[in-house]
């Protein structure tokens, strides 16, 4: 049986990160996996990846950037793997922007319904777009999102602008429909 070289700082860093970002990681897992059982597995996979990652953490970026990078990379691996098995078709934000908005009579009737619609929208996005929209929803700045995804801050800003348009249009339409 293999044992890892675990030092106390690895455990300590993980525990700090898990305490601070635990809820955000759970939301992230929810955005990547719709099935409840698979989502629990994914969340555990993310925590395992995070713990292991702290063995080589060098403090070159902020703890938050590190945690999100590890979590998104682990979750994207999961999506690519699952996609091979389930042949799920994912779309980009640009494709979403060009699509006609679905008519949702009960949409935006309450926070729960709004959250369900939001989740469905996020889960149908391609991994990189999903990272940007999730980071936006978590309240991260464009520069930080750029650091996590590896794309320029300018492109992130453009992407966020499009995301806001799509969200405003879709959720506004739902509300108007319900009026």
């Amino acid at each position: 049986m293999t044992t890892w070289n675990v030092d106390s700082s690895q455990d300590g860093r993980y525990q700090t990160a898990a305490a601070e970002f635990g809820p955000a990681l759970e939301r992230l897992a929810r955005a990547y996996e719709a099935d409840a059982d698979r989502r629990r597995d994914l969340l555990q996979e993310i925590h395992l990846a995070l713990w292991r990652s702290f063995a080589s953490w060098n403090g070159a970026c902020s703890l938050r950037t590190w945690v999100y990078r590890v979590a998104h990379n682990a979750a994207t691996s999961h999506v690519l793997r699952e996609r091979r098995m389930r042949a799920q078709v994912l779309v980009s934000v640009e494709e979403l922007e060009a699509m006609p908005d679905p008519v949702a009579s009960e949409a935006a009737a309450g926070n729960r319904a709004a959250l369900d619609r939001l989740l469905a929208l996020v889960q149908g996005l391609k991994p990189l777009d999903r990272q940007v929209i999730l980071s936006y929803l978590e309240g991260l700045e464009a520069a930080e999102i750029a650091e996590i995804t590896g794309i320029s801050a300018g492109n992130v800003a453009t992407k966020i602008h499009r995301i806001k348009n799509v969200l405003a249009r879709r959720f506004h339409q739902g509300a108007c429909h319900g009026e």
Binding site: M1, T2, W51, R69, N111, A114, I163, L167
Partner: protein, 196 residues
């Protein structure tokens, strides 16, 4: 317009969604990490056992075959098998759960992983089949020479030779197909990168 959702409102809804808030104790994490390692070790062990069986069979031929051609062929197959096992060992060590997830942005990280897997599969001929070819060729040549003198076991020897060649071709083809599948995924990531 009471139900209208503006993006900032959605951020609040997103961050205030009800959660299970399940924590994962360190003991559980270590346990899962060990389980993962054991799975990789078992996979490697299977490969080593396969290699050991191959080496044992051809070592037996090397020690007991009367013809020098068969003995030379056996020695080359043993050497080729040892090379393959060494190659698998090297690859097995790098196939563990990556620890560098935090150093790379998502796009780079996944492209690198896919390229690594694809190259390994693409090169299957050179590191899995080619090392066995010299020995197998001599082995087959010795068998054919024997048949020319005494064709008594023609059917059996033909079946064995066809089986060996067929197995190598099959391994090569399935790995090429897997590499092509990975190639498509890499192309998809490249397209995404261009879009950005």
């Amino acid at each position: 317009m009471a139900n209208e959702r503006i993006p900032d409102d959605l951020q609040t809804i997103w961050r205030q969604q009800p959660l299970e808030n399940k924590t994962m104790p360190l003991e559980e994490i270590r346990l899962r990490s060990s389980r993962f390692e054991r799975r990789i070790s078992r996979r490697n062990l299977r490969e080593y056992i396969g290699g050991a069986i191959g080496v044992a069979i051809y070592w037996f031929c090397l020690r007991n075959a009367p013809e020098p051609l068969t003995r030379t062929g056996s020695a080359l197959i043993v050497a080729g098998t040892l090379f393959i096992v060494w190659r698998l060992y090297r690859h097995g060590r790098t196939a563990r759960l990556p620890e560098d997830l935090g150093f790379s942005a998502s796009l780079d990280f996944h492209r690198r992983q896919l390229v690594q897997q694809r190259d390994l599969l693409r090169g299957i001929f050179w590191w899995y089949i080619a090392p066995l070819l010299p020995g197998l060729s001599l082995f087959i040549a010795a068998a054919i020479r024997k048949l020319l003198v005494n064709p008594e076991h023609l059917v059996l020897v033909s079946l064995v030779i066809s089986g060996m060649i067929g197995a190598l071709v099959w391994i090569w083809r399935i790995n090429r197909a897997a590499a092509a599948c990975l190639d498509r995924q890499i192309a998809e990531l490249d397209r995404l990168q261009e879009e950005w």
